[in-house]
Assembly symmetry: C3
């Protein structure tokens, strides 16, 4: 298991894994928090978090509220219909068009209203360069004056990846398990955010990571640096301890669905190639498209544990940030 390596560095924000000064320490903390979710109801007393959604959310919205309430915080959700409140991000623009407010003011005001802000803003999947600037998240970090938590940005979903790491840690039977991230088919074009963050967090953890996907689904080089890719899914599954299924649209042919090849669906037959692997998916999942019923309904599936750990990852991040606010 992981050893605690206290670096003494503090978390100031949570935009990505780069903001985690001590991953093993954070993981230990998460496991302790999970053992006593209501142990720090006083820590967040009289502190408030604004949960700002520019895109739809079910799990993230609910788990984040639960985490904040478990810490005694005042949690307020704001659903922003991105059409109804179009923000301007560029400097010097004459705002006589659709944008009713500049992010300088929007973030500035929200920073006056809350001690911590959490933001969701998806990739539009039209302009890769623009998406990968993560303009919304970074602008809030720049202009709000308070710690920002990423609740899935254009390029990453670190709360999910942290929950995934917690789940793998809880279920691992060997000190360095083989973890396979497998692309799977999906009828719609989905962002790379979940896959990106999963790869980054696994690279930083004590696991053997392998990624498998069809040709054309390569993730960004900066993400994949040092990671094994295997284009044959069956070979990738060999001896795997964890199979993490996820669809994403193409990064190279940006935002496009290149393949809906159902042979990439995760089946029980493929799971039989593994070392009795556990199955993970961030949900929602399309049954018999991404993964067979037989897998999801088996004891190998730990997708509900994963979802439950979304409370734990958020609560751990919030607790870390609140300790710094004190």
């Amino acid at each position: 298991m992981y050893q605690r390596d206290k670096t003494g560095a503090k978390m100031k924000q949570f935009l990505s894994i780069n903001d985690v000064p001590d991953l093993n320490g954070l993981l230990d903390k998460a496991l302790n928090i999970k053992a006593n979710l209501n142990g720090k109801r006083e820590l967040g007393k009289h502190k408030s978090i604004g949960l700002i959604f520019l895109n739809p959310s079910l799990r993230t919205r609910l788990s984040s509220q639960r985490a904040a309430l478990n810490l005694g915080m005042d949690a307020i959700v704001l659903d922003v219909n991105s059409g109804g409140w179009k923000l301007e991000f560029d400097d010097g623009v004459i705002m006589n068009g659709d944008s009713a407010e500049h992010v300088k003011e929007a973030a500035g005001v929200l920073g006056r209203y809350f001690d911590v802000l959490a933001i969701r803003s998806f990739a539009a999947l039209e302009d890769r360069e623009k998406d990968y600037e993560d303009a919304v998240l970074n602008a809030f970090a720049e202009y709000s004056g308070v710690p920002i938590i990423n609740m899935e940005s254009a390029t990453g979903h670190p709360l999910q990846a942290f929950a995934d790491l917690i789940t793998i840690t809880e279920h691992q039977k060997k000190s360095r398990p083989k973890v396979v991230l497998s692309w799977a088919p999906h009828p719609k074009a989905l962002p790379q955010a979940v896959a990106n963050s999963f790869v980054r967090w696994m690279k930083a953890s004590n696991v053997d990571l392998m990624v498998t996907h069809p040709n054309g689904y390569e993730l960004a080089d900066t993400i994949m640096e040092g990671v094994s890719v295997e284009y044959d899914q069956n070979i990738a599954f060999d001896n795997a301890d964890f199979i993490y299924a996820k669809n994403w649209s193409s990064y190279t042919n940006y935002g496009k669905v290149l393949s809906s090849d159902s042979s990439w669906m995760i089946t029980q037959e493929k799971m039989n190639l593994t070392n009795n692997a556990k199955f993970l998916h961030c949900l929602p999942v399309r049954r018999n498209v991404v993964v067979e019923d037989a897998v999801l309904d088996s004891t190998s599936s730990i997708v509900l544990d994963q979802a439950e750990n979304r409370i734990v990852s958020m609560q751990t991040v919030l607790e870390s940030l609140l300790e710094e606010l004190k």
Copy 2:
């Protein structure tokens, strides 16, 4: 008045009146709770309820939150645009269409996030057999692993019926009042849920129940078993102590509006046929379509008491469930 008959049986969920082991006991409890709404602020401490709306709600949403907060619970509302988060209920389906998530995962996750779940999911009024399976409510009960509260399903609205019973109990002047459920006109096709539950709860209570409606508006046989029907509204109103007005669409000619005969509107003239009856309606009500201004604006109308008792019925159910969670 009702005598307390403690059976010792416990409430495990609240899908319908079938889940109430001791109706008189529950009613007594409600009256006690109403006398001191904040008396149990500690009971729900560190417990959470998820209020899941697949259809719009005003009264139910607000009264349910008030009830949960009165018990010290963390209450979180989730509005699900049923178009935006289409759930799959059938087994074995290849989910490459509109449905993004199977109820097995949706309910499973929500059950991990909350100690209690409350669900609203209306009848679609297209396919009677499908509606009367109450698929959404029952799937959440099956897959969530936590107690489920019905906040109006396709076939019933027991929180409303319980509030109605509390209201009648508060206003009754004789030990066995005559209660008349009268169909009334409405421009839109409405579900039978409120009427179904009202009939079921009144049958189980110490009242003389009579139902009056035009031909073709018969409720399901299983609901109406043992209940008097009178097709002449004037005869039905004779000597009534309570008039409960409600529109519903046809059950036999399913979901259809067969009549908009304004002679069925509740007027002061008709109220004069009664034993100075009190007037009830679950609201919202269309004035001068369902009922005349003169009735709603008279002291006979107790519709606001009824609405207020929605807090009481929910709080009583929640308190009963929380006692079992301890």
Copy 3:
């Protein structure tokens, strides 16, 4: 500074400045509350507020929730899609059309559910007489039976004006500063509510108020009685201590945009005509349409202080009302 003039009169509701018995006392109270926002967490215990939005809101929604939570209240937000829940306001109507509920019932029920109600309902800008009756706000005040707070009605936005007054008080350097309300261009037709309330509150305060706007943008006579108007913006700015920029559509040619003359935009050059004035705007603001970047990005801009004081104005009003509920 302002002297406290305790009249002993109590606040019963907050529809407009007419409901403030002692403006100086209220302002003192606000400054004390701001110094200790969590000082009265017990006052609102077991009290609830319903925040009812018939129109969109970001700042008002968030600041109002923060204020209520700071006072320990249960705060519940209800977003009413005005299309989805069309209310009837007229008496005696046969409600067989779009309106599903009469405000008598809607307000009556909400009054049973909450100790205090706050309402937002904008001007439609089509029928001046109708808008200026402020039908929604007044109907809730008439039928709810509980104190009503105006969160921006068709004709006024007193919580904003009170926040503006607090902000000016915090930043003023002389006992009677010159305050200029300047119309500014905007691509859309906006209500007069903010301008109306700002004028009324400033008239009641110890400031020299001047209003400047193009021909045709005169506010209602009842509002402007006793207020200096200057049609030359440059002359108005001379020696000003505070510039409050705001667009509104025409009152005389009701709801119309008569001018988008960009020469009325607030520029740094114009600010140079003032006595080193502070710049205010209620936000959201369109940069380089209403006001130049150079002004908003300068230390003269106090728009974020203004936004922050929205919590303070709401909390002060709520505290005043709660003291009366006790």
